[in-house]
Every structure is written in C-alpha cells, then in structure tokens.
C-alpha cells in the first residue's frame, strides 16, 4: 500500500483507539478497581469509604458461608462436566455414526435451549420442580413413586442437585455440536481399517473416535468449567436466590447478595477477587493435566 508512515499510524489510531478507550473504561478499569475496592470497607455512599487493608480478606477466611459457596460452585462444575460430556458425546456419536435420517431434527432441537434466556430456563424449570403442580412430582406420583416426591427447590438437600438438570438441559446442544465437528473430521479410513482388524463398534469408539476428538473434548470441558465458575450464579439467582438457608449460594450469588442487597461493596469486591483467583487457578491446573499429545495415526 502506498501511504506515508504518518497516514498509516493515523489510520491505525482511528481503528484502535476509540474501541480501546471504551474497553478500558468499561472492562479493564472496573476489573482493576475491583481489586482496589476489596481493601475498603464501604457501604456505597461516597464519604464512607474507609481503607481497611486486608481486613476484608480476614473476614473472607472466617466467613462460614464462603467454603459452602466454593463447594457449591465446584459441585456444579463437576456434575455439569460429567452430565454434559457423557450425554453430548453419546448424542454426537449417535448422530454422526449411525446415519439416522432425522439427525438434523435432533441437532436443531437439542441446540435450541442454548439460546434461551436463563430467566426463561430458570422459571420454566422452577415450575417443573414445583411441589404441587410440577411435572416431576406429578410424574413420580403417576408411576407410583409417591415417596420420592419432595419440594425439590425448597429442600436444603435437594435444591443444589436440582439445579444441575436445567444446566445440563440448557448446555448440551453446544457441546454436542462441537464434538460432532470433531467427529466429522475423522477420516472414514480409520474406521474401515479398524473394522478389518475386527474391532467392535465399542472398541472403535474408545480407540479411534475418542483419541482423535480429544482436542474438542478438552476445549468443551474447559469451556464448561469456565462458564460455570463465571456464570453459575445467574441460574441460582433466578431459581433459588441462594436459598433455602444458603444451601444453593454460589460465589457469584453471594457476591450479589453482599454487594447489591446488603451494600457491603468492599466485601463484595473481595469475593469477586476470590472468584477471579479461583477460576484462573482452576483453568491453569486443568490445562496442565489435560495436556495430552495430539494423536496422529
């Protein structure tokens, strides 16, 4: 391109600077400022901010609800990873390998919940779990398992596990598509060779499909972990609000409660720092353990 250096930099600035300014103001600055806020005791009015050093962090370590919120978050992470990956892998293999005529129908239907609003999903499932009107309890009564019916979201023991099903329901389609993309890239000749060697379909799955789509599996798991740690509180907020008796509070919903309902903004920021650190550590550890050489046959 024929243009002077000055013109080039002017154009570059035109492209990058306005966006960078907006990004800095509305994303970077708040993140760093959040770290700073965590050192203050602050109820929101501008005069009352008081520098308290690490006392919010001391409070964090002594808050008996914090370990529970961390446990709840990781409970959701683990159950979602297993629930989604097992079902998504099964569906992906079934839809690609078996040449089912109506495969596009399933693909379209299974993906749809991924673009539904969490509010809609949450309210819909709250109704499914509704003790008197809900589908689950009526279904259990219908098949004679009356003793299994319970106030799912109202029970301290069952509320958290009850949140797993809607999350799996809403998430499966995306990961199924990601895995299907991987499987369709696996050359047919591997399967033909495996067939000649007498491998059963089950063996083909374990020895051919799974190793070759490992990159997609790895990305899917990482993605589930990240989105759960960074966003599980949304469905919690809609469906239970952290209750009953804190039994479903995750880190993010507890932050919301502390900061925006009880106006402990400094302490809320401290919880935010904890979320940031925990999710970064988790991702690093996972990337270390899931490093597996790319398989080539």
């Amino acid at each position: 391109m024929v243009q002077s250096k000055k013109q080039k930099y002017l154009f570059l600035a035109f492209c990058l600077v306005p966006t960078m300014i907006m990004f800095s103001i509305f994303t970077l600055y708040p993140l760093f400022n959040g770290l700073y806020y965590s050192l203050f005791s602050w109820s929101g009015s501008s005069s009352a901010a008081e520098f308290t050093g690490l006392s919010n962090y001391v409070k964090l370590f002594n808050d008996s609800i914090i370990p529970r919120t961390i446990f709840h978050d990781y409970f959701l992470v683990v159950t979602k990873v297993f629930g989604i990956m097992i079902l998504a892998t099964f569906f992906a293999v079934a839809l690609t390998q078996l040449r089912i005529k109506e495969a596009p129908f399933y693909r379209i239907v299974f993906f749809f919940p991924n673009i539904m609003s969490v509010v809609v999903i949450g309210i819909l499932w709250s109704f499914i779990y509704n003790p008197s009107l809900g589908l689950i309890n009526s279904g259990l009564e219908l098949v004679g398992l009356d003793s299994w019916t319970r106030p799912w979201l109202g029970s301290e023991d069952w509320a958290l596990p009850s949140l797993v099903l809607p999350s799996v329901w809403a998430g499966i389609g995306l990961f199924m598509l990601m895995l299907m993309g991987g499987i369709s890239n696996v050359s047919k000749s591997y399967y033909e060779a495996a067939e000649i060697d007498g491998a059963t379909e089950w063996q083909q799955f374990w020895k051919v499909t799974l190793p070759l789509i490992w990159p997609q599996i790895k990305i899917s798991i990482l993605y589930i972990v990240i989105t759960t740690l960074n966003g599980s509180f949304i469905i919690v907020q809609v469906m239970t609000g952290g209750g009953p008796n804190n039994s479903t509070h995750v880190m993010g919903s507890y932050l919301y409660q502390q900061a925006f309902q009880q106006y402990n903004f400094g302490y809320g920021a401290t919880i935010g720092v904890m979320i940031l650190i925990l999710s970064l550590i988790t991702v690093l550890i996972m990337q270390f353990f899931m490093r597996r050489e790319k398989v080539e046959y």
Binding site: V2, K8, F26, L98, V118, V120, L135
Partner: protein, 276 residues
C-alpha cells in the same frame, strides 16, 4: 436383526431427550392460553378453550409493553455499538502489521475468559457518576463492550478469509485506507457481521444479571427483569397464566431468529466457544 435392535436402543435416548426439550417449551406456550383455574386443575394438559386474556393482561397490567420496548432499544443500540467498535479494531488486528498487534489481540480474547462479576461493583459506581445508572442507554453501552471480545474474535477470522489482492488493487486505484475498510472489507465480511450481530442481539435480548444490577426503576425494566418480577409476584398473586404469556413473548423472537438463521447461530456459537 441385531443391528436394528441396537438402533432402537440408541434411538430411545435421542427421542427421550427431544421430548425433554420440546415438551416444557410447548407446555409453556399452552399454559399461556389457559386460565388460572385450568392451570391448577390440569397443569400439564391442553386447555379447553384457547384464550388470549393472559397476553392482554401481561401486556396492559404488567407493563410488558414498556419492557418489550426497552429490550428492543437495548438490543438494537447494543448490537450497533458493538459493530461500530468491533469492525475497525478487527480489521486493524487482522491486516495491519504493527508493534503490539499480538498483545492487543490476546488482551481482547483473554477478556472472554475472565470473570466479569468483579468488575460489576466498580462499574455500578462508574455508571452512577456518568449518570448512566438506571438508564437503558447506559446498559446498551455496557452490553456492547461486554460482547467486544467475542465480536472481534469472530470478525477477525472472517476477515482473514478475504483475499489481500482486493485491498491492494483498491489502494492502487487511489482508495484511502478508510475507503478500503468501509467500501471493500465491510461489505465482503457481511456474512461475519450478520452472524456476530444475530448472536449479540440474542445475547442482549436474553441478558438478565447486568440488567438486574444496573437498572432500578420499573419503567426501565427490560423483558428479562419484568418476567423475573412477575415470577416473584406470581408466588402471591398466582398469576401463572400471565407469567407464561410473558415468557412466550420473550421467547418468540428468539425462535423466529433461530428458525431463519439456525445454521449461522449454531456455527457462530461453536466457533466462539472453540477459541474462548
């Protein structure tokens, strides 16, 4: 014989899951046409007569009309702002060689992985100082910036597929770099722009939590907030029919978009996730 049996066994979970997805959504629509008495008497069956009373009640008494309007504004303004900010940056990052290019790209992309909750507390006070708190335009700006990383990522990969020769010959003909950007690159990456815009629009239409934090007065509620409000009220008023009607109103635009752009949406989301 053995083959067909295993086929049925494999098909069964597919059919069951399809029912698990379709039935609740269908049931929500059916519920929107039922009276409250019918919902209690027969929560999971068909209504005797279809009536639209729930819709008019949601629309008139629960101010769903205002929130639909607010959601529309937030969606349109947010999606446009995202494009205005993302297209030039994506082009510069994809095509112009300069120091710090890699760093800037990584900075934007890594923002997709960082939990933004921490930033929401300072953002709340920032918006308050800028007089943008409890303001749907303030929310639109926050939305637009929050979708920047994803949009930049998808747009750079689309722009990467445009042959460089086109820009070079246009520049030879005396077109300025600005002209190349708006008259050559933007039209040629229209597929990517449309994909990104649909994804962002759905995201903004559905968004709940930032709206919950950054909007306060009822007349500014977006649809997600209004529905959440009706849902909390319904525990006392038992206005379940109205609740279903408003859920239906929220989900119909998404279904329509999905019906038209199904391939683009699923492809866009899968690609966004693979890099994220």
């Amino acid at each position: 014989m053995k083959k067909s049996l295993s086929r049925i066994v494999i098909r069964l979970p597919l059919i069951l899951w399809a029912i698990a997805v379709i039935y609740p959504i269908l049931w929500m629509f059916i519920g929107a046409f039922k009276s409250n008495a019918e919902i209690y008497a027969n929560p999971w069956g068909l209504p005797h007569v279809f009536n639209f009373q729930n819709f008019s009640q949601a629309w008139n008494e629960y101010n769903i009309d205002t929130s639909v309007f607010n959601s529309l504004i937030v969606t349109v303004v947010g999606a446009l702002l995202t494009l205005i900010m993302a297209i030039p940056t994506a082009y510069a990052l994809e095509r112009i060689v300069f120091k710090g290019n890699r760093f800037l790209f990584t900075l934007y992309i890594s923002a997709m992985m960082i939990p933004t909750v921490l930033g929401w507390i300072p953002l709340f006070f920032l918006l308050m100082q800028l007089n943008l708190l409890d303001n749907i335009f303030g929310l639109s700006i926050v939305y637009a910036v929050s979708q920047l990383p994803f949009s930049i990522f998808v747009l750079t990969s689309f722009m990467g597929t445009i042959p460089k020769a086109l820009e070079e010959s246009a520049a030879m003909d005396g077109l300025s770099p600005y002209g190349v950007l708006w008259k050559i690159i933007t039209p040629l990456s229209m597929t990517g722009i449309i994909t990104v815009t649909i994804m962002n629009a759905i995201q903004f239409w559905n968004e709940y939590f930032m709206a919950l934090i950054f909007l306060q007065s009822e007349e500014n509620y977006t649809l997600a907030l209004a529905i959440d409000y009706i849902s909390n009220e319904a525990e006392y008023t038992n206005a379940w029919g109205t609740l279903f009607a408003s859920l239906a109103i929220a989900i119909i635009p998404v279904i329509v978009l999905y019906a038209i752009f199904q391939r683009r949406i699923s492809k866009g989301m899968t690609e966004g996730a693979i890099k994220g």
